[in-house]
C-alpha cells in the first residue's frame, strides 16, 4: 500500500444498486480502493462490470431512480463525500474531483461555446470575474494543446473534431486543478491515432498538476502504458487488484487471465502468442440473478464445486496483490 499521508481518495465498501422492473442488481458491490496524489489507478473489466457506475458513484452522479448508493464511504482529501449534502457535493464536483466522459461528441453542450463551458466550470468554483475566467479558459485550452485557443474558445462543439472535443473536455475537467480526475474510457470513441495523443496528454497533465487519476478502460494495453495500479472488476465486484507489473507478470484471477489472453500481443507477458485470439467463453451473467458463489464460475475453466457454492474472499497473495479466487494459486500454472 502507498503512503497514507499522500492519499487523495479512499473508497471503502462502496455499494451501489439499481432497482429495475426485472429486479434488484448490485452494480457496485463492496468495492474498496485508494488513489494517491499523482497516482494512476486503472479500473478494467468488460462492459457492464460496474466500472462506470463506480466512477459515477464517486461523483455521486448515479441516476436516481433507478440507481442508489446504499453503502460504504468515499473519502476525498479527508472528507466523506457520501455524507455531504447536495450543495456541499456541488462544491466538490468539478473542483476537487472531475470527470471526463467516454463520448466527447455528446458530452459537450451543443449550444454553448467551448470557452463558455470552461468559464462556467471556473466561475462555479473560483471567485473570479468573467474576464479572468475567459483568460483561464484560453490558458486551459492552450494547456491541452489546442491550436489557436482564442479562436477555438469562441467556437461551438460541432465545429471541433472528436479529439479536439476530448481535449476541451479535459481542459474543462482540469480547469479548477482537481485533486482527483476520473477518466471514463476517455479514448474509446476516438480514432486510434488520436487515442495515444489524448492518453499522453492526460498523463502529462496529471504529472504536471499532481492529480490523482482513476482511469476506467476495458483496454489492458492502455492500462499497461499508463497505470501504476490496476483493479479488475467483474459483475460489480473487485476480483483482483495489483500493481501493473505484478498483474501482468502473474494474474491471480482466471478472469484477468482471460482478459489478457483476449488481447493480441500482451507486452511483458509470459504467454506465448497464439494463432487465434482467445475469447472468454460465455457472457457476463445477469446481475439480477447472480449465482451464490463466484460470478465468474460458469465461464471459468478452473471452476470447482466450491466456486459455485461460496464466494471467494479477496485475499492478499503477497505485495498487495489481491485476488478473489479459490484457485488463485493455481491460475498461473493451469493456464
Amino acid at each position: 500500500m502507498t503512503d497514507t499521508s499522500n492519499l487523495v481518495l479512499e473508497v471503502k465498501n462502496l455499494k451501489t444498486v439499481f432497482f429495475t422492473n426485472s429486479g434488484l442488481f448490485k452494480a457496485v458491490d463492496d468495492v474498496s480502493f485508494t488513489v494517491s496524489r499523482g497516482e494512476t489507478l486503472a479500473i478494467v473489466g468488460e462492459s457492464g462490470c460496474g466500472k462506470s457506475v463506480t466512477a459515477l458513484s464517486l461523483m455521486r452522479l448515479v441516476p436516481d431512480p433507478p440507481g442508489r448508493i446504499v453503502g460504504g464511504s468515499v473519502t476525498l482529501e479527508g472528507s466523506d463525500l457520501l455524507a455531504l449534502n447536495e450543495a456541499g457535493m456541488r462544491k466538490i464536483r468539478g473542483n476537487r474531483i472531475s470527470m471526463i466522459f467516454q463520448e466527447p461528441m455528446t458530452s459537450l453542450n451543443p449550444v454553448m461555446r467551448i470557452g463558455d463551458q470552461i468559464v462556467e466550470a471556473v466561475r462555479l468554483h473560483r471567485n473570479v470575474s468573467s474576464k479572468e475566467a475567459q483568460t483561464i479558459a484560453v490558458e486551459m485550452l492552450r494547456l491541452v494543446r489546442i491550436p489557436e485557443p482564442v479562436r477555438r474558445a469562441r467556437e461551438y462543439p460541432h465545429q471541433l473534431s472528436g479529439g479536439m472535443r476530448q481535449r476541451a473536455m479535459i481542459a474543462m475537467a482540469l480547469a479548477c486543478r482537481p485533486a482527483l480526475l476520473i477518466a471514463d474510457e476517455p479514448t474509446t470513441a476516438l480514432d486510434v491515432t488520436i487515442q495515444a495523443q489524448i492518453l499522453a496528454l492526460i498523463l502529462d497533465l496529471q504529472k504536471e498538476l499532481g492529480t490523482g487519476l482513476v482511469l476506467i478502460t476495458h483496454d489492458l494495453g492502455v492500462v499497461a502504458q499508463t497505470a501504476q495500479r490496476v483493479i479488475v472488476m467483474y459483475a460489480g465486484r473487485k476480483v483482483e487488484e495489483a500493481s501493473v507489473e505484478a498483474l501482468f507478470a502473474a494474474p491471480k484471477h482466471p478472469y484477468t487471465r482471460g482478459l489478457m489472453a483476449s488481447i493480441p500481443a500482451v507486452p511483458a507477458s509470459g504467454v506465448a502468442a497464439q494463432e487465434r485470439l482467445n475469447e472468454i467463453p460465455g457472457t457476463v451473467p445477469s446481475l439480477v440473478r447472480l449465482p451464490p458463489g463466484c460470478a465468474f464460475a460458469p465461464r471459468c475453466k478452473l471452476a470447482i464445486k466450491r466456486c459455485e457454492a461460496e464466494y471467494p474472499p479477496l485475499a492478499d497473495w503477497g505485495g498487495g496483490h489481491l485476488a478473489a479466487c479459490w484457485r488463485a494459486a493455481e491460475v498461473a500454472e493451469v493456464a
Partner: protein, 315 residues
Amino acid sequence: MFAYLVRRLFLMLVTLFGISVVIFFLLRIVPGNIVDILFAAAGYVDPADKANLEKELGIDQPLVVQYLHWIGGFLRGDFGYSYVSEKPALQEILPRIPITARLAGLALLFSASIGIPLGVISAVKQGTRLDYTLRVVSLSGLSLPSFWLGLLILTASVAMFGQIPIFNPNPATWLEAFATYAVPAAAVGFRSAALTMRITRSSMLEVLRQDYIRTARAKGASDAAVNYRHALKNAILPVITVIGIEAAFLIGGLIVTETVFNIPGVARFLVEAIRWRDYPIVQNLVMLIAVVVVSANFIVDMLYAVFDPRIRYTD
C-alpha cells in the same frame, strides 16, 4: 447557405402556388355562388338577373381564365373587389389584420410566457404531485371546446361583474384597449399554453437525459443552472417549431373565439366570406394567411439556425 436559401424560397413558392390552386378550385366545388346567396333571401332566383350578375362579376368565364385573372392580380397586389360589399378586397381585409394580429400575438405571448415555464417546472419536478397537477391542468386546457369556454366566460362575467368583455372598437384608455384583447386572447391562449407546456415538458425531459447535462452536473453546476442554462436552451428548439406551427392552428381557434367575443378580425371575416361565396375575399385572405404561415415556418427554420449552432444550412 445561399444555395439552401434559394432552394427553400423556391419550395415556398411551389407551396404557395399549390395553395392558390387548391383554394381556388375547392371554392368552385362548393355548391352555389354569391348570386345564389344574394337571391336566397328574396326566395327565388331570377335566371336573367343571375346571368347578368354572374357576367358582371366575371364568374361566368372558364375557370382557368378566372384563375389566371385572380392570380395575376394577386401578384400585382390587386385583390379585386369584394362581391358582397363591392369595395376593394384589400380595403376590406387590411383593417381587420391588425385586430387578429394583436389577438394572435397576445395569445402566443400568453401561451409562451405561461406554457414554457410551467413545462420546465413540470419536467424538472417529473413524477411529483406538482407535475401531475400541471399535466392535468394542461390536458384540461386541451379538452375544453373553446367556444364553450368563451360562452362560460361571457356568462360568468355578466353575472359577476355586470360587464361583458366583447370587442370594444373605441377603447378610451390603453388599459381598455388591452382588456378588449386580453380576455379572448386568454381564452385562445389557454389551449395553446397547454400545448406549449406539454411540448416544453417532453422536450426538457429528453434533453435532461443527454450526456452534456451529466457533464454540467459533473462540473458542479446547480440544478437551476443545469435546468435553465443547459437544458432549456437545448429544449427550446422543438418548442419554437411547435409555436410556429401553432400559429397556423391558431387561426382555427380564432375563428371560434372571434365569433363568441364578436371581434371583427380576419378569422371570422373569412368564415363569413366563405358563407357568402365571396371568392375575392376568401382566395386572397387564404393566400395571405398561407404566406404568413409559410414565412413563419421559414423564420422558425432560420431561428433554429440562430439558436442551434449545429445547424448551418448547407445542403
